[in-house]
Every structure is written in C-alpha cells, then in structure tokens.
C-alpha cells in the first residue's frame, strides 16, 4: 500500500507530445479512475507508472521513492491488461505463479499462494486449463488472479472489463469492488465506462488531450464540473449545453427568449454556455419561471426512465429530458420543462465554470 505521486510528467513519441505535464497524487489505499476520450493518453500514463515506458521528463514516485529508473518488476506493481495478456502456453496455475517462479519462490509456497488466490476468484477448478479453454470472464479472473498472487503494493488496471459483455461486466465490477474492499491496496483503473468510474472510484481523474482536466470524487465531478469538457464527459446522458447571453439582470437568456433562473456576475451581453442535465429538468406548467419549450423529436423508453429529445428554439442540439416511465409523450407533442435552479451550470467563453447565485437570494 503506497501513494503514487506524478510531478510534471511528460511523454513524447518522436516529435509528438502525448502527455503535456501531468501532476497528480493518488493517496495510499485510494482507488483512482482515469477517464477520458480515446487517445488522450490514459494507457500511456499507466504504462509509465508501471515502468513499461520511460517518461520523457518529470518524475514518478511510488511510496515516496522516485522510480523513474526502477524496472517494472521491482516497483511492486501488478498490472491487468485490456487483452488480459495471459500466457497462452501456460496453464492457469502456471500463469498465476509465473512471477513467483521468476522470483525464485519454492514450489510448495507457489502452489499454496496460487491456491489461495484461485479460491478467492473461484478459479480452483480451472487451474490445469490453458487460457484458450476459458471463457472471457474466466480469463479476466485469471488476469486478476495473476495480479493478486504477487501481493503488490499497487494495482494498475487498463480497461479490464471492456472485452466482456454487459452482464458479465456488472458481475466483474462487483468483484473488483469487493477486491478493493478486501485488499485495501492502492489501485489505478482506466475505463471508458461511466458507471465503472462512478461506482468504483474514490477519485476520478478526467483527462483530455494529454492533460488532466479535473480531479475529484465522483459526486464532485458530477455536481461541480470545472469546465465544459468535464461537464460533457461525466454523467449519462451527456449534459445538455446551450449557448446563451447574459441578460441585463445577470440571468442567462437563450436565443429563443427563455430565461434561466440563476444569476452570474458577468457583464450583460457576455456570451456563455448554460449546462443542465437531463435529470434536472422536470415537466412544467405553462407560465412557470424559466421554462424551456419545444417539440418532441424522439422518445427513448428505457423501462424505468424515458428520455425525451426536445427541439428547443435557440439551442443548436436537441435538449434531452428525463421523465418518469409512466408518462405518455409522443413525437411531435409540444413539451415544457423547467430546470432545477441549483443544478444549472454556467461556462464562460473559454469553457471554464462560472459561479452562479440563485436570483431570489440576490434580490433579497
């Protein structure tokens, strides 16, 4: 169990700079999740923490010790790869015991440690099989088993569940959560999956184009995204973002004339973006404060929820609204919604979050 501290980490492949200065601390025993669009450098960063790739500049410290020149095997790390990377010609037991064998641990000890880990992951009956004789979920468990056998100080996971089907992914997510609870090791986890990030993480690190956009707890990122990128990336469906202008009284005004019930300190006439999540818009009565109205374009029934896509005047993209599953809405209907004032986000022209106040309190 160790902390990981990255300071000014940069990475270039040839002349292309992939990571542009990463500063990050992952505390002892913390579960950190890296998220970000494809190609933003998550795997590259993970490989540098692991020692598989060298940093171009900056330092990587594990447990207070700078490990830039320490080879992967001596960093006390285990990594679970997206492709599982099992050794195809070795049995499950040999796969799991390989690192111990290389370390010169004696056979009886290897056998007992493999057996212990295998029991935890329900692999005991598969120990003599080769990887090609296993299902995807079983392979995944072997990959995790291979990691825990070594009793590492730090776990690295690179999209470990992305090759599994949806149902298996839910199971394995629970398995990783229980692993986290039982081992208490520091873990860094890369994923594309919102739900994995929100449910597993103590700390989410949102990356974009080689930089960290924001670091925080899942709820922090959901409630207070630092910028438009994080707002759009965290949460599903994506946050609705519409272009607006600051009105004379400080309230954002949409091109179609709708007024949002929040106030900012920006000068009237400033161009801004207003963000509101689907779950923070509720059906409204005519004449309510700050209602948005538009024709229903698409209705998506997901069982418990219904997502309605509204063509709101002045918004470039349809505004998505979540409503209860029992409500009847048809394409073409006129629909009105009103935003929850405390959940309205305002971003300036540079995309940074702008503080807002509720209009009622400022009037008092």
């Amino acid at each position: 169990m160790v902390s990981v501290v990255l300071s000014g980490v940069r990475k270039s492949f040839g002349t292309v700079e992939i990571l542009k200065g990463i500063d990050l601390t992952v505390e002892d025993g913390e579960f950190a999740v890296f998220v970000g669009p494809s190609g933003c450098g998550k795997s590259t960063l993970l490989r540098m923490i692991c020692g598989l790739d060298e940093v171009t500049s900056g330092t990587v410290a594990i447990g207070g010790e700078v490990v830039n020149d320490v080879p992967p095997a001596q960093r006390g790390i285990a990594m679970v790869f997206q492709s599982y990377a099992l050794y195809p010609h070795m049995t499950v037991a040999e796969n799991m015991g390989y690192s111990l064998r290389l370390a010169g641990v004696d056979k009886a000890e290897i056998r007992s440690r493999v057996a212990t880990s295998a029991a935890v992951l329900r692999l005991d009956k598969l120990l003599d099989r080769k990887p090609r004789e296993l299902s995807g979920g079983q392979r995944q468990r072997v990959a995790i088993g291979r990691a825990i056998v070594r009793d590492p100080r730090l776990f690295l996971f690179d999209e470990p569940l992305s090759n599994l089907d949806a149902a298996l992914r839910v199971d394995m997510r629970a398995e990783i959560a229980s692993l986290k609870a039982r081992l208490g090791s520091t873990m860094i986890y890369v994923t594309h999956d919102q739900i994995e990030a929100m449910t597993l993480a103590d700390k989410i690190v949102v990356m974009n184009a080689g930089r960290i956009e924001q670091v925080g707890s899942p709820l922090d990122l959901y409630r207070m995204p630092a910028n438009r990128f994080v707002a759009g990336f965290i949460g599903s469906p994506r946050m609705n973002v519409v272009a607006a202008v600051v009105g004379p009284d400080g309230r954002p005004v949409l091109a179609g004339g709708a007024v949002f019930p929040v106030r900012t300190d920006l000068a009237p006439g400033t161009r801004i973006d207003v963000g509101i999540r689907a779950e923070h818009l509720s059906p409204a009565e005519n004449g309510d404060e700050g209602t948005l109205s538009g024709a229903v374009r698409v209705v998506e029934h997901l069982g418990s929820d219904v997502f309605v896509h509204l063509a709101v005047e002045g918004a470039a993209y349809p505004v998505i609204v979540r409503i209860g599953g029992e409500r009847q809405v048809r394409a073409g209907d006129l629909f009105r919604v009103t935003p929850e004032p405390s959940s309205i986000h305002v971003f300036d022209a540079a995309g940074l979050r702008v503080p807002t106040r509720s209009p009622a309190r400022s009037a008092a």
Binding site: P71, I77, A85, H89, Y98, S99, L102
Partner: protein, 312 residues
C-alpha cells in the same frame, strides 16, 4: 474463425445452387477431372517417369562398359555399403546438414530478434537482409570464394590485419576450412528466408503478453525461454524441417566452391551422386545412391507435408 461467425449469424451463406444440392453432377465431375490432365501429364513426364527410371536403373549395372543395362539385383546397394568413401559421404552430409541447419536457425532467429526491435534504419536493414536470397547461387559461391581466397581474400586480409593469424591461410584447401566455408556460405544464403519466417512469427506475438511478463519480472533470457520460443514453436518446426530438406538437397554452392574437396571433405551425397553419374558415368551406382539419398529426405518431407496438410 470466419466459418464459425458465418454459421453463427442469421444471414444464409451464399453458395452455388449445385453445391447446395449436395455436390456436382456426374458429367460436371467428369469435366472437372479433365482440368487435372495437364498437371497430371506434366507430373508424369517430369517427376514420375524419371523417378521410376532411376528406380529401375538402380537395380542394373549401367556404365560405360555395359552398352545395355544388366539386371544385377541389390548388387549396387551392397557395393555402396562396402565403399568407405560413400559411407563417408553420408557422415559428411550429416555434419553439413547439422551445422548448416543449426547455424541458420540460430542466426536467423537472432537476426529476426534484432530486426524486431525498433531502431532507426530498421526498414533499410530488413531490405538489405533479403539480398543473399535474390542472388543466384553461383554468384553467392563466387563472392564467398573470393572472401575465402588464400591470396586476395577479405577474410585473410582482416585476420592478418588484426593479428589473429600470422600469415594468410588457404581456407578452402584444409578439410575443416572447406567444410566451414561451405557451411557459412549456405547459412548466409538461407538466413533471409528463415529470418522472414521468424520475423513474421515474432510480429504475431502479443505485445501485451511481453509487457505482462516484464511486469512479472522476466528478463531478456526468461522472455526468450518462456514466451518467445514457445510462441515460435510451430515456426521453428517448419523452419527446421525445411532447413534439413534444403540442406540435404543442396548442391550448387558446394560444387562451385569446393567441388566436394579437398579429399572429399565436403563431398556430400548430392556431390557424390553427381560424381558417380557424370564423372564416372556409373548410372547404376548413382541411381542406387540417389534412392538412398531420397530415403534420407523422406522422413523430413513426411513431417513437413503432414504439418502442412494439418494446417490447411
């Protein structure tokens, strides 16, 4: 893999109407067989007929003193077993094939491992590596003949230059030197092909598997022993069998370089057969020897064909 995905999907497979009804009709099958005729004719003419002729000649006395071949039964084979030089040729062949095959496999693999690293100029080096492959074998023999040349050779110049030997050596005139020379020439000639096999094999090795092994603590030697060689096992098998077959048959560079000498030191079976047939015109002995020679190739060829057919 494609098959299972096709079968698994709902889309019906598109096949010809005849095939769906359980194969070709009888007259179509007859027409189909006609198409085999040219190949069959060529095979009979070029391979089967000469082979059967050789088979027949092997049991005859057929040399310059006997205008008409005389059937002699197994006499030629008995003569072969009683001729120490010919037994020696089998030994020489074994040494040559063993050294040349081992050398090609080891160096080809090593070279492939080097060319599989990423470094500047790799593409150029890969291209250059293929040159020996495209050179005609007589040119290869000529080039190496000059390298080993006692008076003007690069090898002597280099060795004398660095002080490894006091004065130039006539490499091709010593028995050990001649064998070394023909083996090196063959290795040089075969490396490109073998290297390509190994390189293709290495490129299909999962990079994450190697990464995982490094995280598990594998050094370069453990990587080679536990991951690269097991991965290359099928390639290795094919390469060794092909190497053995190729080296057993090899003739031209040896003939051009040493002609089998000095004192039969490099007189492998191919040279021996040639000499019996075209120096001494003893066709009976040459054919019998040829048959024995083919028999030594058979096991290797059998393994190779079985492997190929299983793979297909």
């Amino acid at each position: 893999m494609t098959m299972t995905s096709v079968e698994g999907s709902a889309a019906p497979m598109r096949v010809s109407a005849h095939a769906r009804k359980g194969g070709l009709k009888a007259h179509e099958r007859r027409v189909g067989r006609l198409f085999l005729l040219p190949a069959l004719a060529a095979f009979t003419l070029v391979i089967l007929f000469p082979f059967l002729r050789a088979l027949a000649v092997a049991f005859t006395r057929s040399d310059l003193q006997t205008p008409e071949p005389i059937f002699v039964g197994l006499a030629n084979f008995r003569a072969i077993l009683a001729t120490p030089e010919i037994i020696g040729a089998f030994v020489t062949t074994a040494v040559y094939v063993g050294l040349a095959t081992a050398g090609t496999v080891v160096l080809g693999l090593g070279w492939a491992l080097i060319l599989n690293q990423s470094f500047r100029g790799r593409a150029v080096l890969r291209a250059v590596t293929l040159i020996p492959w495209v050179l005609p074998s007589t040119v290869t023999a000529f080039v190496w003949g000059w390298i080993f040349n006692s008076r003007f050779g690069v090898l002597n110049a280099a060795l004398v230059g660095v002080g490894a030997i006091p004065y130039p050596t006539a490499w091709l005139s010593t028995t050990g030197g001649a064998m070394t020379a023909v083996v090196i020439t063959k290795i040089w000639f075969s490396i490109p092909l073998f290297m390509s096999f190994f390189l293709a094999g290495l490129q299909s090795l999962d990079r994450e598997q190697i990464d995982a092994a490094r995280v598990d603590g594998a050094g370069n030697f453990a990587l080679l022993r536990d991951h690269i060689l097991p991965h290359l096992r099928p390639v290795l098998l094919v390469v060794i069998v092909l190497g053995v077959i190729g080296n057993l048959q090899h003739f031209d560079t040896i003939f051009a370089l040493t002609g089998g000498g000095p004192v039969r030191a490099t007189s492998v079976l191919s040279i021996e057969v040639y000499r019996r047939a075209f120096d001494q015109w003893d066709l009976g002995m040459a054919s019998a020897l040829g048959l024995l020679w083919v028999a030594t190739i058979m096991p290797a060829a059998y393994f190779y064909l079985r492997h190929l057919l299983k793979g297909a």
